[in-house]
Symmetry: C2
């Protein structure tokens, strides 16, 4: 079983009420890959510049991630994002974005990526997502996006959504994309475009899964220390799709999708405990298993005595 991800590989400078960091390793493909690496073999597709250090590649490699499709662009600069969060960590502000090598990115996929069983199209231009989807034979493809693309490239985005099996967006973005204020109705509208699986992410409040069989909602894992939410959505996607890939079936069952939601929640919860990739980079399989069981205990109730 294997998983390919295309998305940003970035340096993030982040300030939250709990501290700040300059030029940390980040980006959707990185957060996704580290999370998914607990379950499956991951191929990362994305460009970096000369400024991308060997230690960053080494971190990914140490987690078993295939870095063959990380393209180093001579003379280029790695994608850079600077942002900060309010006291309410659900509110993020972008202060600076430098596309760098991402401006002219042309995905080049090795055989490993093209033949991966699952594919995650991280939050990049919808046209690029479509091209990658087209090149890959994945039996299940999932797509993330953001308000920027919904506002500026709505039609290409809708076309890209129509070509995947699973859409993963923030709940507000699902509503924005479909122009439907009610989340359950919005998710149904997405299914009419194509995807049979819709995951609406709700930040600290958790996530909701919509399938033709119904819906499933999980609260976020409650933490006493949350330092930096950057990348939480991608870690969620990594846990979710990583677990599904490990299952290895063409059509994941409803119970498997629910467990995948739980693993997504677990990986996202570790992501936010520290800055950038700090926590997930030293995470162990045992910690993942332990928190998965804690999440079950935290959300479970019996109908009667």
């Amino acid at each position: 079983m294997s998983l390919a991800v295309v998305g940003s590989i970035a340096f993030d400078s982040v300030r939250t009420p709990f501290g700040e960091r300059e030029r940390m390793l980040g980006g959707s493909a990185v957060h996704f890959a580290l999370a998914a690496s607990f379950f499956s073999e991951v191929h990362v597709v994305g460009p970096v510049g000369d400024d991308f250090g060997a230690e960053h590649v080494e971190l990914l490699r140490s987690r078993g991630v295939d870095v063959a499709d990380i393209e180093r662009v001579a003379g280029g600069k790695t994608f850079f994002w600077r942002g900060h969060y309010e006291a309410d960590l659900n509110v993020a502000h972008t202060d600076e974005t430098q596309l760098g090598v991402f401006a002219d990115f042309e995905p080049k996929l090795s055989e490993g990526s093209r033949n991966a069983d699952l594919l995650f199209l991280g939050n990049i231009q919808p046209e690029l997502q479509r091209r990658v989807r087209d090149e890959c034979s994945a039996r299940l493809a999932a797509l993330d996006s953001m308000n920027l693309w919904i506002e500026t490239t709505r039609d290409p985005l809708l076309a890209a959504v129509g070509e995947v099996d699973c859409l993963m967006l923030n709940d507000a973005e699902v509503r924005m994309l479909t122009r439907e204020p009610n989340l359950a109705r919005a998710a149904r509208a997405v299914m009419e475009i194509g995807p049979r699986i819709v995951v609406a992410k709700r930040g600290e409040y958790g996530a909701v899964l919509f399938t033709p069989e119904g819906f499933f909602a999980l609260p976020g894992f409650l933490l006493e220390d949350v330092r930096d939410p950057t990348g939480a959505g991608d870690s969620f996607a990594g846990g979710f799709l990583g677990y599904l890939d490990m299952q290895g079936t063409e059509r994941p069952s409803e119970p498997a999708l629910r467990r995948a939601m739980a693993y997504g929640t677990v990986l996202a919860s570790f992501n936010v405990e520290e800055f950038g990739t700090e926590r997930v980079a030293r995470l162990t399989q045992e910690e993942v298993s332990e928190r998965y069981q804690e999440l079950r205990a935290m959300t479970h109730f019996e109908l009667s005595e």
Copy 2:
């Protein structure tokens, strides 16, 4: 088993993106009593004016609610609230408040209320809450409040909180009251003041229960039609405490508290489907049971195959 509630009995004029209503029956004590009436005998304590119609009293009576302590103040006017909600129904605005008979309210409790097994102190001035708590012999008392009292009467409110077993607030209010930005830490700070049970309500995102044993989180019930959130928190409290009262034990067990959270979620979900008390007024026991099971199905996952 029986339950007493002190709180507002009101007329609400509400506008949402889905319609508007003038001078509907409302108020924290009314929403609470209707929800709790599915589980237990409820005594309502609160004042109304000459403008309060017999049909409103009759609605409560028809659900088995004891209305002996609804005090009719001659020449007075019933508490009135006018408000509206944004497209995002989580955002409410108050346009007008007329205290009416509530300005000089002096709670007078009959024996039935004084001897009730459980007590709910709805969102009114903390000093009034303390007086009622003092008069009642309830084995378990719960308290709701709001940002207004946290800002204007913080010390009396903290004293009132210190005298109850259970605090039920919106998550933002729990943080505001304790001046602790993290919810889990804020709930622990509340427990240090007195309550051994803390319920943080999160609107459409559900609620979290904190006890000395740990925490339990439930998402809100997903609905395709939400028309008016007014009173949802009080309906939640009514379902929660009504179920606990029905259990009849001095110290509710952890599993019982979790089921109470589920019943609170169920009653709140019916509340918001239509305006004011419209939906809950015609709700049946069968519908409550059915949705309770649906909520379990919607939130349940198995650790492994």
